[in-house]
Symmetry: D2
Subunit: 296 residues, 4 copies
């Protein structure tokens, strides 16, 4: 989904173009855009999003079930080969569902089968808010719920998916605010200054597969990165590790450390449970000590 | 080597028994005990040890070389099958040389060959002061030295080996003091008390093989363990990780944490370069922050 | 009270000597020792103490009131001039009641008058467990209690006074254990070692008078003091300040600090509410940061 | 000095108005504005300032001495009564020179006399960059310098004074950037959130007089203050104390603390030596621990 639409453009477009452009904001369900279209013009993206979600809420029960059934399984290779919407493919890839270990793949197969056997529709989750681990955890937990609760949960997740898709698809003077931020800060308490030039890596941890390196970077003059590690989108629920190369940093500054250094790589392992919040991870360090905390 | 000898017993023993008992304090070299024997009685174990090392220092050069050559290779399966001294086997096992990955085994083979090709004698190292990683690092570094330096290094290491063997073999009113200590302490800054009941693990890290779990334990009422994690012997040079299960601890105390918790397992990775020193690792923690440092 | 009595000696003494020696363990009330005497010999000091307190508990109500009335006022200059027991004088001095500011003196006068007017007996408090501030706070609070509660409180305090007097007066193979400890520890996270040679001061804070310097000392090689700042006696309830001269320390170590230094004197202000507990105050410091916490 | 002039206005003003407006940018020395005037228009305030300072540098030596002599003494009551420039009065007041203790007043008198006796001109210092303590310290130190060094120092300080006066007097699209910032941040590691509602006070410490409370405030939702404690001007060189009422904060949050609390008021005493830098003081705290450091 390329971000080349504008709200003004959508308000001015023909009815058929409007429907075509927004037909996949909710998976394979152009009827939602169709039902919302007469309410044009929309003053803000929030109004457009709310109008579309309102269509779902007001739809007859059997149509809502069809809507849920229109969604693909997670990590289903057959469906993927047959073709998902571009948005679904990109979302599943973002959570690493295209790179599963054998064990993970097997877990998804079993969970998909069990879920559909119990509820008669596929498991729906806004995967951009999750890592593989938390998808599997949520899947297993929701499998124990009642059908009524799962129908509600599916609709909630469809709303989250639609919000993120709209935010990625349409620009507007008042943006659809999508929250979530992950940032860090390294302070050198040996010199009393921000630590410039510290190499670090952000890794997403996977219980059943291979950990995934999300980024490698070097701190700037202020001990930070020019932009947050993640921003303007949910920080996927899951466990992470920041790995700071602090012995290298101190040696480059001319500080004589033994070999091996007392502190070489500092690992900060942390969990994200509220993907729309700001997770700030400061590291206060000397060659002989460090402190970390949930900052703000 | 069972610790059932006493210094008094050795002082009173027949000459031949004295030599037999101490024949392997220096690998396959009873002539050293033989040459030291006439100086009996020894007032302390330090005197006995010094007398034996003095024999080595005063020996003719070619005898010293024979002594060095009497030592086994490190991690040599053929020699191990043919039989090392009981002490050598136990020492090599303590450093994990009996459990090498293929890559590590290959590295040892290459280093042993290169070393013997260059110097004409085997690489000698007091492996009780090292982890596999630091043995490999030291091996590679010493390979670049001059023959004269390596001969000196070998004698130094033989002295260290003899000291640890004597300390393990002979009891005395004044013990041979063998230094080295590793300890930890967990303070809960959320409750202002020592953290009792924190499960933790000490792991030895291996760059070329598999990390080794050295111990699992639970903190006591004072946030410590009844005895130090390592004491009365060198803390092997190398890299380690302490892994504290702090989310479990807080949940057991009735503190409500999200899932995943912000802090679940706290990892403290640290290096040991001075095996005879005391490494004390305090952890000050709350569910949202932690501090560690080299304590005392 | 000089500590020159032994439990064995007291067990063997004549009845009259026994009573004479212990006549002031409870202020001006030799009848208590007299009533406890026939239970000799006492196996431990705890038994002796308990026997004496038991006499009080079993005494008729009017005798208990007379006992309470036998106690002096706190900080009463007239009574002091007329002569208190040696023990009372020493106890009141230890809490600084001999060095009151005008405002403090006035507060004591008013509280003494109000208390006696309401209850008909003097306010009794084991002052060795208190600072001036906490005596005044406790005084004001107890003034609001009922007569029955105050009679109970007075007896409790008399027991505490007797325990501390006995512990100071009589030695025994099994000592009367009197708990309470205050200690500190300075770690230098700039060098990774204990901070040796840090000058510091312990000050007792006074809300209505002048702060009192309790001691000045210099940290030893382990960043501590040879013995705890307070030990083997209650740490008086109150507020304190530890003042560490850290800029001086770092300058002596050759570290170049600006003038004024970012950190010069580090002040740790802390309160003691449980005088029989151990208060341990570590300071982890660099020239640019510090951490303190309730240690153990 | 009210900030009602603009650079455009000054560029467009008559020559006599230009000189009148800027006549006291350098104390009682309109000849400097007069000599700079023909270079109008000035593109930026920096250009104007540099032009005025250039006049001083290029003036004949005896005129520079007259310029220095045109400055008032610091803390001289007679001169103050006779009338200083409005700017001088306001600057001296900002440093507290209108509120001296007897001891401070005496120190200033002695230093003024000694300085003028030695150098023949008054001691000039940009007092907006200093506290009383650092004025006295700098005064005593500069008294030991050579006349040539002091003449240079006086010119440097006149430049600093002129810069701050211009920045306060004239607005411009490109402001004269005047650096210096003091800020704080309170994080609650007990709850994992910024600490909202912590009352605190900033105090300027005085060695020879009375400490001065600079501000009292309460932290906002982000654990900060809406604007920095000091910004857009130098943070006066000197020693300060931040006093945080943390027991009150925790009690309001429903956390049960003993009386007295282990931590009640947290004092952070810090020194400022580089007034144009940013001093950021975070406090990470629980009821049982705290950490502070020079942040960024």
């Amino acid at each position: 989904m390329k971000k080349n639409l504008t709200l003004d453009g959508l308000n001015a477009a023909s009815r058929s173009d409007f429907i075509a452009e927004l037909g996949d904001v909710v998976e394979h369900s152009p009827w939602i855009a169709e039902a919302a279209e007469p309410q044009r013009p929309f003053a803000t993206l929030v109004n457009l999003r709310d109008a579309m979600l309102d269509v779902i809420v007001r739809a007859p029960a059997n149509q809502r079930i069809r809507l849920i059934r229109a969604h693909p399984d997670l990590a289903n290779k057959t469906q993927r080969a047959a073709g998902l919407t571009e948005a679904s493919t990109s979302e599943q890839d973002s959570a690493g569902l295209d790179r599963l270990s054998d064990r993970e793949f097997e877990m998804f197969e079993q969970l998909n089968s069990a879920y559909k056997a119990k509820f008669g529709f596929p498991f729906i989750l806004c995967v951009r808010r999750h890592t593989k681990d938390s998808i599997l955890d949520t899947f297993a937990k929701r499998l124990t719920h009642s059908p009524a609760d799962e129908e509600k949960a599916a609709i909630t997740e469809i709303g989250r998916i639609a919000t993120l898709r709209l935010a990625g698809l349409v620009t507007s003077s008042v943006a659809l605010s999508v929250h979530g931020e992950l940032s860090m800060h390294v302070l050198d308490t040996h010199s009393g200054t921000p630590a410039e030039g510290v190499e670090f890596e952000l890794v997403e941890l996977a219980r059943y597969g291979v950990n995934r390196s999300l980024l490698k970077a070097v701190t700037n003059r202020d001990g930070r990165t020019a932009s947050a590690l993640i921003s303007g989108r949910p920080v996927p629920i899951g466990n992470y590790e920041l790995r700071f190369q602090i012995a290298d940093y101190y040696r480059r500054r001319g500080i004589n450390l033994a070999s091996p250094a007392f502190l070489d790589v500092v690992l900060i392992r942390f969990g994200v449970s509220a993907p729309e919040e700001h997770y700030h991870l400061p590291l206060l360090m000397s060659p002989w000590s460090y402190t970390t905390y949930r900052g703000s």
